[in-house]
């Protein structure tokens, strides 16, 4: 187990290194000359050279990388040329909103998927299983931007629930109830996508597990159906569930921008789209780096959880 974790950690560091090189290089892929951007088109070659020296752009690229990564590790990701604010502080303001949205949506998704999958797997092709199968398939094929628009139409506009409409985000520190209201619709929308995946994965794994001989063995001990489900069937059936949760949560961090953008919720996704629109390259670079490292970390954590849940994996 320890050896496995160390091996994965080494791999993690390797991946993070590659990501950092990629994010750093991103800025070099951009067309145009930074000196021209800063000094304007009329800059003389001498002035340009002075600026290159000031910015360190005359040094070899690997030295530039090490200077940059050293700054990043100290929490300094530079200052945006556009807004003149520090990239790190912009990200620090936006990231908690993403985390809160993800946590809320995952609580909703798991709370619905686990009990429903347990119910329907007991009678595969029974009435409940068929209804949920059809419903989840329908939900799977409706894109989130349709769902969020319909929700806004009915809940914010028809029912008039406060703080639920577009551009009505309230911070957690100012009023937590209003904050929850303002995140309810996007969290619910994101939860639907996760729920469908979790429900279908867990249902089919549970059906397979319930055929196993050790379930009959557990039954022959005279313990309740509920206990058989939770203690004997759930854990060996949850490997694929956790695996898809890792991928899914990473996906929400990287791709949750649709609902954020539609409702103007100032999370990372919303900030990223604005940064792209305004050509705020340093901010784009910072967000790409933070999101990529976040996705890798989330997957690492879920791999670790899977190993605890199913000890067979690290033994093999």
């Amino acid at each position: 187990m320890l050896r496995y974790v160390i091996r994965r950690l080494v791999m993690l560091l390797g991946i993070v290194f590659v990501i950092s090189v990629g994010s750093f290089y991103l800025i070099h892929l951009l067309p145009g000359d930074p000196a021209v951007v800063i000094l304007g088109t009329g800059a003389t070659p001498q002035n340009k050279l002075i600026l290159y020296k000031q910015l360190g752009l005359n040094r070899p690229i690997y030295e530039q990388y090490f200077t940059w990564i050293g700054n990043v590790l100290h929490g300094n990701m530079g200052t945006s040329f556009i807004s003149q604010t520090s990239v790190a502080s912009t990200i620090r303001a936006a990231l908690p909103i993403d985390v809160e949205l993800i946590v809320l949506s995952q609580i909703l998704a798991f709370a619905a998927a686990i009990p429903l999958a347990m119910r329907s797997s007991r009678r595969p092709d029974g009435p409940l299983d068929r209804i949920l199968g059809a419903t989840s398939f329908t939900l799977l094929s409706v894109p989130s931007f349709i769902i969020i628009v319909l929700l806004v139409l009915f809940i914010s506009i028809k029912l008039g629930i406060p703080h639920t409409g577009p551009s009505s985000y309230v911070t957690l520190s100012s009023d937590w109830i209003a904050n929850l209201e303002s995140l309810a619709l996007p969290a619910f929308t994101l939860a639907i996508g996760s729920f469908v995946v979790y429900y279908r994965v867990l249902r089919s794994d549970l059906i397979a597990t319930l055929q196993e001989e050790f379930i009959t063995m557990a039954r022959s001990k005279g313990i309740s159906q509920r206990r058989i489900m939770w203690r004997h069937a759930f854990r060996p059936s949850s490997v694929a569930l956790l695996g898809s949760a890792g991928v899914n949560i990473g996906g929400l961090l990287a791709g949750g921008f649709v609902v954020q953008y539609l409702l103007a919720i100032p999370g990372l996704g919303f900030t990223l789209i604005n940064a792209i629109n305004m050509s705020d390259y340093l901010l784009v670079q910072g967000i790409v780096l933070v999101v990529s490292v976040g996705v890798v970390l989330i997957n690492f954590i879920f791999d670790f959880i899977i190993n605890i849940v199913d000890p067979r994996i690290s033994r093999e």
Binding site: R123, F214, M217, S220, K221, G222, I223, H232, D310, R312
Partner: protein, 334 residues
């Protein structure tokens, strides 16, 4: 002997599976009984219904697509038709099962100690520490070395023989009166097989249990059972004391089974006798004796009319055959 003293009385037990090909009578009307402290062998080829029979007796058949009729009275409890909730009361305490394959019958992601003491805590309300204490005692009883450490092992960390000992420990946790052993040695190495069977024998004596030993291997039951039931196509075709079945069998199928198992006395390189043909398709059972298509003695009557069990010479010795083999009673045993 009155039926009250019997631990188990089975009458006309029928287990039918609903399959896409129609109803499949895996057990087709079986009656027998079992005394306290007795070891009964149930023998038959794969697909003869012996596993389904042993599960139906304790009510452990699948919960869907199965119908059971007849009666199985286990320590005064009617298993047939009982609800799952009612059966939970007898599972573990009146009857427990040692499953066939220890590679699949243990939960792979649960520590073995937890699998043993689960029923002690949940059913018998033992505290965590006294249940653990008892589980370690059980591990010791079934001959697992350093039980303290093994308590927190996962099944994947044990060998097949050790796993089967754990399966036995789980079955013994509730001190059952009847232990069902369904092919308890099939998944194990030959050297381990004898160890497990001897362990079962020893535990039976020590804990005063009755045992039903289900197997396809006549060598397994020869020295360990008092009586044997021979099954074919879901029915009993011969039943009697172990001596009767081995030495005075009347049903040709019993003889074929005996001849097809290897014997120590035979010279080396003796070809084993095989039974021609295949066990019948239970979806399309013919009217007559199910064994008739494979039987050297079959007549037209065998193919048209099914023989019922009839008494042979010794009390309790029954066979189902129109053209039985001659009795060897009185003759010198081979």
């Amino acid at each position: 002997m009155s039926e009250n003293e019997k631990l188990l009385v089975v009458k006309d037990l029928v287990t039918t599976f609903a399959t896409p090909g129609g109803p499949l009578p895996a057990v087709g009307g079986v009656s027998f009984d079992l005394d306290q402290n007795e070891t009964l062998g149930i023998v038959g080829e794969s697909g003869s219904g012996k596993t389904v029979l042993s599960r139906t007796i304790m009510g452990l058949q699948p919960r869907t697509n199965v119908t059971v009729s007849g009666s199985a009275l286990l320590n005064g409890f009617e298993v047939v038709g009982a609800s799952e909730r009612a059966k939970r009361q007898i599972w573990g305490t009146d009857v427990a099962m040692v499953f066939q394959d220890p590679m699949t019958s243990l939960n792979p992601v649960m520590r073995i100690g937890k699998q043993i003491d689960e029923s002690l805590r949940v059913r018998h309300g033992m505290s965590r520490s006294s249940a653990k204490h008892r589980a370690i005692e059980l591990l010791e009883l079934v001959g697992i070395p350093s039980p303290q450490q093994r308590y927190s092992a996962y099944p994947g960390q044990l060998s097949g023989g050790m796993r089967q000992r754990v399966v036995i420990a789980i079955a013994l946790a509730g001190s059952p009166k009847l232990l069902m052993a369904d092919e308890p040695t099939t998944g194990l190495d030959v050297t381990i097989q004898a160890q497990i069977l001897n362990l079962l024998d020893e535990l039976k004596e020590r804990l005063k249990m009755s045992v039903i030993l289900v197997t396809h291997d006549l060598g397994v039951v020869a020295t360990r059972t008092s009586r044997i039931i021979v099954m074919y196509a879901g029915r009993i075709v011969e039943m009697g004391t172990t001596r009767d079945v081995f030495q005075d069998h009347r049903m040709p199928y019993t003889r074929a089974l005996l001849e097809s198992s290897p014997k120590v006395a035979s010279p080396s390189h003796t070809r084993l006798v095989t039974i021609p043909g295949r066990p019948p398709n239970l979806l399309k059972l013919a009217a007559g004796c199910s064994f008739a298509p494979r039987c050297a003695y079959a007549t037209d009557r065998c193919r048209q009319e099914r023989p019922e069990l009839q008494p042979a010479g010794d009390p309790g010795h029954l066979f189902a055959c129109w053209n039985p083999l001659p009795t060897t009673r009185g003759a010198t045993p081979q």
